[in-house]
């Protein structure tokens, strides 16, 4: 199958899916009665603060919240002109966050790359720990290596992340002088990038990476071990042994390649998890990632912020599945030539 053709086809279907998703997200966010501003107005009226009401009324008009829902949707996406002409997601205007009283892009911009950074570090940690351990555990199955890897793994799986975070903060600070909470020293916040700032961020990353990564690494290690053990029992492994291959070459060339497929297929889940996966941990650790912002936005019906974050997660999910499908095609000839005439 022509990979380019397939990519184009997938991109088209992805855009269609995004459209459907946007409708659903908008509908769900607007399910509860009222909106952020009408709630605020009601509250202001109740407490008799009339001057605030005017501002809220103005914002309601400015962001078209007084119009019917379907019109609001079209304006939000950018299909229809709002009070200020076309300015929706398509035009790159993500709207205003009422909760933080800032444009959504300002809030998200900073948090977004920190989120990606934290989770990327965690994913790298997962792969670096899980791959070698899983392979060794499978190759030496039912030996002390296997058992101790499994023990550590289950410990990682069973310990709640936030508990692990608190423990690591305490002991990390006590014995290693690691900082507690945050992603950089306070004096660097809002500062332009500099060498000391990078260093500060890296040091702050250690505990979060470990916390977010352990359970993932444990799960992945167990899965890799199980996959690899399955593959090791297959006849083609015997063929490879009968050729005279050394155990290490045999293992890496044949069964490991096969055991990889599930992990490539997993990339589709990894990308969105980078944003939404570590919400709880971020809240506990006080990381300035997008997770806490999303949580706050959902709680207070801050609809533009919530809508944007959810759209972004949906987009990552779709891109992730597409990437993993394309990678699978490259890795596995059976998928690549699935449609080729025999």
């Amino acid at each position: 199958m022509n990979i380019l053709k397939y990519t184009i086809y997938r991109t088209m279907t992805m855009l269609l899916t995004l459209l459907v998703v946007s409708v659903m997200i908008f509908a769900i966010i607007n399910l509860p009665p009222g909106d952020y501003l009408s709630n605020q107005i009601a509250e202001l009226r109740a407490t008799g603060q009339a001057e605030g009401v005017a501002k809220a009324e103005f914002l309601r008009q400015e962001y078209a919240l007084d119009r019917p829902l379907w019109e609001q949707y079209l304006i939000w996406v950018g299909f229809a002109p709002g009070p200020n002409g076309f300015s929706g997601l398509l035009q790159g205007d993500f709207g205003w966050s009422f909760e933080f009283d800032q444009p959504v892009s300002d809030i998200v911009g900073d948090a977004l790359w920190l989120t990606v950074l934290v989770n990327l570090a965690a994913i790298l940690f997962v792969y670096m720990v899980a791959l070698p351990l899983g392979v060794v555990a499978a190759a030496r199955s039912k030996s002390w290596v296997d058992y101790s890897a499994a023990f550590v793994g289950y410990l990682g799986l069973a310990t709640p992340n936030f508990l692990l975070a608190l423990m690591l903060f305490y002991y990390g600070h006590k014995y290693l002088g690691l900082p507690i909470g945050g992603l950089m020293d306070p004096q660097f916040e809002g500062e332009p990038m500099s060498w000391p700032k990078v260093k500060s961020i890296l040091i702050h990353l250690i505990v979060p990476t470990f916390v977010i990564g352990t359970s993932g690494a444990a799960a992945m290690m167990q899965r890799l071990r199980a996959n690899l053990l399955d593959e090791l029992g297959k006849p083609y492994v015997e063929t490879a042994r009968a050729k005279g291959l050394s155990p290490a070459r045999m293992l890496t060339k044949y069964p490991l390649r096969m055991a990889f497929n599930p992990f490539v297929a997993d990339i589709g889940n990894l990308l969105p998890a980078m944003v939404s996966g570590s919400v709880l941990v971020s809240v506990v650790l006080g990381l300035q990632t997008i997770g806490p912002a999303l949580l706050a936005a959902l709680k207070s019906q801050d609809q533009f912020l919530a809508g944007f974050v959810l759209m972004f997660v949906a987009f990552l999910t779709l891109v992730g599945t597409m990437i993993s499908d394309l990678l699978l095609m490259l890795l596995d000839p059976r998928i690549r030539y699935g449609g080729r005439d025999q």
């Binding site: 199958m1 053709k5 397939y6 086809y9 297959k234 006849p235 083609y236 015997e238 063929t239 490879a240 042994r241 009968a242 050729k243 005279g244 291959l245 050394s246 060339k253 044949y254 390649r257 096969m258 890795l331 596995d332 000839p333 059976r334 030539y337 449609g339 080729r340 025999q342």
Partner: protein, 591 residues
């Protein structure tokens, strides 16, 4: 001169189990000679040959014995060689091909890559020279386009082609010994004949010795010079093939021979099967499967699994459908049972009781289907996966009765006990789980389960192909006994003409979804007309040294339909009719 390989007193045991699984086995092979290790499952033949390469399962160990390899290796004992030096033996002096060509090659690597690896492992050879050598070998094993095969992936090839690739991999470094572990068991019979022929030719050319592990005495008769018969880890009998095959001395060997089904050498045409009182009448049934392309720029693929099939099964008789994989025989069986609906125009009529109105199987309402299922049952191919491992025997056998609401608890239990007796099992076993039974016993359970509802028709889908020969014999006997006792009718699906020869009253040979020839077995064996039937018959390995496989006949009929003589050819568009050439003998040809 000492033999190429001498195995002396080889004993293999499993950790945790005191009794050895291979016990004091000795044999020897000379250069250029073929030795057959014959035995049923559990005889230790496979472990013995794996021990030669020391690729035993992790829990198995060689506890005593020696395996002296002479030849190029120059007198080394494979039993005590270091693991490192052993790697230099594998694939180099001794190589091996396996039973399942479908799974013995890595699906993710190109064929050429997997074969050329052997050369780079054992020789210092330039990349281009190695590639050339592999291409030559591909040509040698019969790939029409070696360059293309080099870059192909295993899944793009048929089973026979994959086994050729395995053979290429095994012989590319010109080993002294080739171990072939049931190399053709998973292949169709015509492919088997060709692959066996290829192994023989290559052996003659390279002068290597072949150790052939097999359960099939027919294969032995066609291939081997020496035979070692194994049973429960011990050698029962050994000697030249001539001596063992013509006058087996050991009772176990004699038993094996008695059980091996064979196509009778001399037959007289039989009278045609009566066409009155039909229990099952399949009328012009066609089944088209559609594979969705999944992407918009490709058309869906339509495959006709069977085309215009007409079959009549008289009450109390056995109708066999014979064909190789992909012939459409299983689709026919599924349609006969209503598990699959034929394309419009086809009809399946089932009349379990001549006094009552027949059932139109292809359009049964729900209630009628329920009644139909009581009267038509199935016995499956694989007794290991067709019984739930989590259900006791009594539950598995009572379930059909419960579903159909027959009897109360104790009556059902009595019925199960009776069924177990019928199939020759002890009623004490009612509370056991299937894992406690052997393959043959499980197939008996399957049959008992099919019988509990007292059906009129049983569809047997390759009921013996997963079983050892001696067990196969017992199951066939059982099926015949039951038929006689209760006037059952069988629709019998098989790939094995010798099995069919025993049990069937009429045989329909299928190829590419079409019935190409149909007759009572005696008539068919006496006077086969269709080139494909002839190829099937010629390819059948018989345990008789005097009747070897006729590769020429196989080659004439086993290929694609457009390689057949003019009057037999068919394609998607034009198909000759099934013409009656003599009473009860139909052949698809232009008369």
């Amino acid at each position: 001169m000492s033999p190429l390989l001498t195995v002396e007193d080889l004993t293999i045991g499993f950790r945790n189990s005191p009794a050895p699984v291979v016990n004091g086995v000795s044999f020897s092979v000379d250069q250029g000679e073929t030795l057959a290790l014959v035995g049923e499952s559990g005889s230790g033949k496979t472990l013995s040959c794996r021990a030669l390469l020391r690729i035993l399962p992790r829990s198995a160990t060689i506890s005593s014995g020696e395996m002296i390899l002479n030849g190029r290796a120059g007198g080394i004992d494979l039993a005590t060689l270091s693991e490192r030096r052993m790697r230099g033996v594998r694939g180099n002096f001794v190589s091996m091909i396996f039973q399942e060509p479908m799974r013995s090659l890595s699906p993710l690597h190109r064929i050429g890559n997997q074969v050329v690896e052997v050369l780079h492992l054992h020789q210092t050879i330039s990349k281009s020279a190695a590639r050339q050598l592999v291409l030559d070998t591909f040509d040698r094993v019969g790939f029409p386009d070696p360059e293309r095969a080099y870059d192909a992936y295993p899944f793009e090839m048929s089973g026979g082609m994959r086994q050729r690739a395995m053979i290429a991999m095994a012989i590319v470094s010109k080993p002294d010994i080739l171990i072939a572990d049931e190399p053709t068991t998973a292949l169709d019979v015509t492919t088997q004949a060709q692959v066996l022929g290829l192994i023989k030719e290559v052996q003659r050319e390279i002068g290597m010795a072949v150790i052939l592990v097999t359960h099939d005495l027919g294969v032995v008769a066609n291939m081997a010079e020496k035979v070692v018969v194994m049973h429960r880890g011990r050698v029962m009998e050994s000697g030249t093939a001539q001596a063992v095959l013509t006058g087996p001395a050991h009772p176990y060997t004699q038993k094996l021979f008695a059980a091996a089904p064979a196509i009778p050498a001399e037959t007289q045409p039989a009278p045609p099967m009566p066409e009155t009182d039909l229990i099952l009448d399949i009328k012009s049934v066609t089944k088209t499967y559609t594979t969705r392309a999944g992407v918009p720029w490709k058309a869906d693929v339509h495959v006709q699994a069977c085309r215009n099939v007409d079959l009549k099964l008289p009450r109390g008789k056995t109708l066999a459908i014979v064909g190789e994989s992909g012939s459409g025989k299983t689709t026919c069986a599924r349609i006969a049972l209503g598990a699959e609906r034929p394309d419009d125009g086809g009809e399946v009529i089932f009349s379990p009781d001549p006094a009552q109105k027949p059932i139109i199987v292809n359009r049964m309402p729900k209630a009628e289907r329920f009644a139909f299922q009581r009267k038509a049952q199935m016995v499956f191919q694989d007794p290991y996966s067709s019984l739930s491992p989590r259900m006791r025997v009594i539950d598995a056998l009572c379930e059909p009765l419960e579903i159909h609401g027959i009897g109360n608890r104790s009556e059902r239990r009595d019925r199960t006990v009776e069924m177990l007796r019928t199939v020759g099992l002890n009623p004490d076993m009612l509370n056991r789980y299937p894992h406690a039974f052997s393959g043959g016993q499980r197939q008996r359970l399957s049959i008992a389960r099919a019988l509990t509802l007292d059906p009129a028709l049983i569809v047997c889908d390759e009921p013996t192909s997963a079983l050892d020969v001696s067990v196969q014999e017992q199951i066939l006997n059982l099926l015949e006994d039951i038929q006689e006792k209760s006037n059952l009718s069988y629709l019998f699906i098989s790939h094995d003409l010798a099995v069919v020869a025993r049990i069937a009253d009429e045989v329909a040979v299928m190829r590419s979804g079409l019935i190409v020839e149909q007759a009572p077995p005696e008539t068919l064996f006496h006077n086969p007309q269709h080139p494909y039937t002839k190829a099937l018959l010629a390819a059948q390995p018989l345990p008789d040294i005097a009747r070897p496989i006729n590769l020429k006949l196989v080659a004439q009929g086993a290929g694609a339909p457009d390689s057949w003589p003019d009057r037999f050819r068919f394609d998607d568009m034009s198909v000759p009719t099934l013409a009656e050439v003599e009473p009860g003998h139909k052949v698809r040809c232009n008369v």
